[in-house]
Symmetry: C2
């Protein structure tokens, strides 16, 4: 069983990619809506929340876990060791970006929490100290996606405003450091132009997952995909429908 | 002592009004950042959180409590009775709106949670069944205020988009049903025009507070204003500075 967790429905973009790779294997998704959003919480609070989510997924039978949330992924070095591999969405994207950049200038967009944590910058530096990273917090993008304002002129203007300093810095690679952003990828691509490589952290983690499952010879049982939440949310059905193109049945669990 | 709580810093707009009325009395403010935002949480979860916040304020010595959060105010009928009066931001605004409207058409803007709860509509109907209420969820406004995009052209366009159906419905009174919105009041006023009366739930509750303190002969001790939070947040200092025009020292408490 593959276990996935996120603070809400955003991680469903990660689930979607994993479901394409493993359509007939057991997958369990936990949307921790009771604690949404992680972005404004302290590192210690995020660590405690992540440990509880991991406990739950392991108790359900997860043999490998994906942290499908950039904020929680930024705190992954704080998490205790587990008997199962725990992947996050930052490391695979960072690896791809370091391989992709020719001019050693990488851009990252994300929530305030992700950008201020410096997690992307630090991990890129660890791989290749010559690469400079330009981070830009883009906190209006999540509400714009959740409001379904994807194709509106206001969203295009806001994107242009956010992406201007990244273009000015001359980056050749841009990481979408938030699970909501793949829904804006065509709009971002259009503004950045065809020469800029765009890396989605949601897509990047799937390659890493496949490699780890193969290398560690993890046996996945056939089965269904289950979806849990820690609280109901008003627009959950609308958002999950938008992310997956279909309705999902969520089951509520009390973890907190 | 006057106790105030909100899910975050938004309630500081309510505190600000109360501080003007009682500058030298003890006031205690609790920003429940650990559970922010309430808007996407279930009614039962909001009720549990509100009870804990109220317990804390009473334990500190509050003689009257103001729920400075529209979502939690919408759940106020679910709260248990307490030895101290508990005011909320909805009822006073509703009362003012019912007195103000001449054509019995009142508009309300708020978060998705506030508008979908129907709390304003229901309470307006209770006062005067002849008044029809038009609610409009405006979920982009909180992030726009927190991002300090108040005077940007994009915000004006988004406001125009949101306010169009309210203007078309011919309302003569508009309730700002979210504690962040007073910061956008000039922009909203400009779009709605001089004939539309705008009622801020933050301002409305202060009149009710003064009346209750007088009627119930509540004795307030002189003292300082204290600020507590249940978790740190990245942009708390920036936002509270914007709301109050000065820096505040917050003390962290563990309630959850």
């Amino acid at each position: 069983m593959i276990g996935i967790f996120d603070s809400g429905a955003g991680g469903l973009t990660v689930y979607k990619e994993i479901a394409v790779a493993y359509p007939e294997k057991q997958i369990i998704y936990l949307g921790d809506l009771a604690n949404l959003p992680y972005g404004s919480k302290s590192p210690e609070m995020i660590r405690r929340i992540a440990e509880k989510n991991i406990d739950f997924l392991i108790s359900k039978g997860a043999k490998i876990i994906v942290i499908a949330c950039n904020t929680a992924s930024g705190r992954s070095p704080l998490l205790k060791k587990r008997p199962v591999p725990i992947l996050n969405v930052i490391d695979p994207a960072v690896k791809l970006a370091a391989e992709s950049t020719k001019n050693n200038k990488v851009g990252v967009i994300g929530t305030l929490g992700t950008i201020n944590s410096g997690a992307y910058e630090e991990r890129i530096k660890n791989i290749n100290p010559k690469i400079s990273t330009v981070g830009e917090a883009t906190p209006l993008l999540v509400p714009l996606v959740e409001e379904n304002w994807i194709d509106k002129i206001e969203t295009k203007r806001i994107l242009k405003h956010y992406l201007r300093p990244l273009k000015a810095a001359g980056i050749d690679t841009l990481i979408l450091g938030c699970t909501h952003y793949p829904l804006l990828q065509p709009q971002i691509k259009r503004i950045m132009g065809p020469k800029i490589k765009i890396i989605s952290s949601a897509q990047a983690v799937v390659g890493e997952l496949e490699k780890t499952i193969k290398n560690k010879k993890i046996k996945l049982n056939p089965g269904v995909h289950q979806f849990y939440i820690t609280d109901y949310s008003l627009n959950l059905d609308k958002i999950s429908q938008k992310f997956l193109g279909k309705k999902i049945k969520f089951e509520k669990v009390h973890l907190f």
